[in-house]
Subunit: 213 residues, 2 copies
Amino acid sequence: MSIQLQCDNIEGMPKRVDHRERRDLIAGALMRVAAEHGLEAVSLRHVAAEAGVTSGMVQHYFRSKDEMMVFALSVVREHGAARVAAAVAALGDDPSPRTLLRTMLAELLPLDPARSADGRVALAFLAYTAVRPTVAAALHQDTAAMLAFVADQIRSAQVTGAADRRVEPEPAAAGLLAAMEGLGVYVLGGHYSAQTALTALDAQLDLIFGPAG
Amino acid sequence: MSIQLQCDNIEGMPKRVDHRERRDLIAGALMRVAAEHGLEAVSLRHVAAEAGVTSGMVQHYFRSKDEMMVFALSVVREHGAARVAAAVAALGDDPSPRTLLRTMLAELLPLDPARSADGRVALAFLAYTAVRPTVAAALHQDTAAMLAFVADQIRSAQVTGAADRRVEPEPAAAGLLAAMEGLGVYVLGGHYSAQTALTALDAQLDLIFGPAG
DNA sequence: CGTTTTACATTACGACTGCAATGCAACGGC
DNA sequence: GCCGTTGCATTGCAGTCGTAATGTAAAACG
């Protein structure tokens, strides 16, 4: 038997370059194209041009366009997760459930150009996966995890809170998460202003946690 | 001066056929294609084939693809409006604000295959217009009208309701509308079940109008 | 040192795209 | 009855698409 000594690569990796790095580079270009012109403007040549590489190189790192799309979707998810993690980390220890949720959800709203670009890509992928259910599994996981987390936070606030304003955690969490998503969509579409969205989010939290939390 | 006698057509219309009818036929085919394969699968030939006509005919009724897309978007809007109007009409006289809103919003959720197809098309157009702001104006109007209506309903319920659970109508309406949109998106993406979405919607209404309205 | 593998670049191909051009039958108005 | 307009079909074109094939330079490996 032969023992494979794989220093830092998981797969049968190349000689010099870091595959992950190149794929991230390409995925970044894809996201820029998608954010500006939509997912239907994403082509191998277009992405390659945006990334400043040849389309042959893109083809070298992704055997098909679909593989590239799936990878880019995973990068979008990681983007969002990292954003939320950073915002939560900056919150210090032991934030109240309401503060924690408000921070996380507000971070996922497209309130500045950077997040707006990410949001447009995410929205494009949302429409994309709605028609290709096979690649939506990862998104399902994300939503399910978020939903469970939000419900937990609501539940933990209920225990210590007043008993007169009791709400069911799961439906409230589902509604809150959906409200966040909808607010994001409306802000991206220009139907709501950033201010409107934030106010609505706070009002939503007021409804769940009681006013002036 | 010459008086134009235009019996039932608004524009300089053809000899025999009803332009509007043909355009609706084509738009219907477009929506079917978009619902099944996404908006990026919408091409003149594809739509023509789905409609059972030649692509030359499509070209005859729409001078460009963009014109066809814009028209289809307007049809999607009318679809939704008609759906809501029908649901409200079936409600009888003087429904409570809560019942009225619940009926309208639930009607816009993709809870059956027909509404799901419409929803996929609407979602695709949402992503489409997010990148082409010039064609989003009509959608803005719809959202603004809905927002004002929902806020009015909430306000009118406040007047007659108990004073202890007062909520600001505008942010609550914005949140409720966004929640509906987000629920729809999540159901379309398969992240929420229809049951989850309905339960969340009712919970949301509970939060605004008080439990067991 | 020679061979294999990796990292790209280039080119080609068939399919598809939106759209313009053209053809043609039929009906309306004069 | 002729003629122009309208309704629709067909064809062609320039361009883009995804992908496969091929070429080349260099590093890795025995």
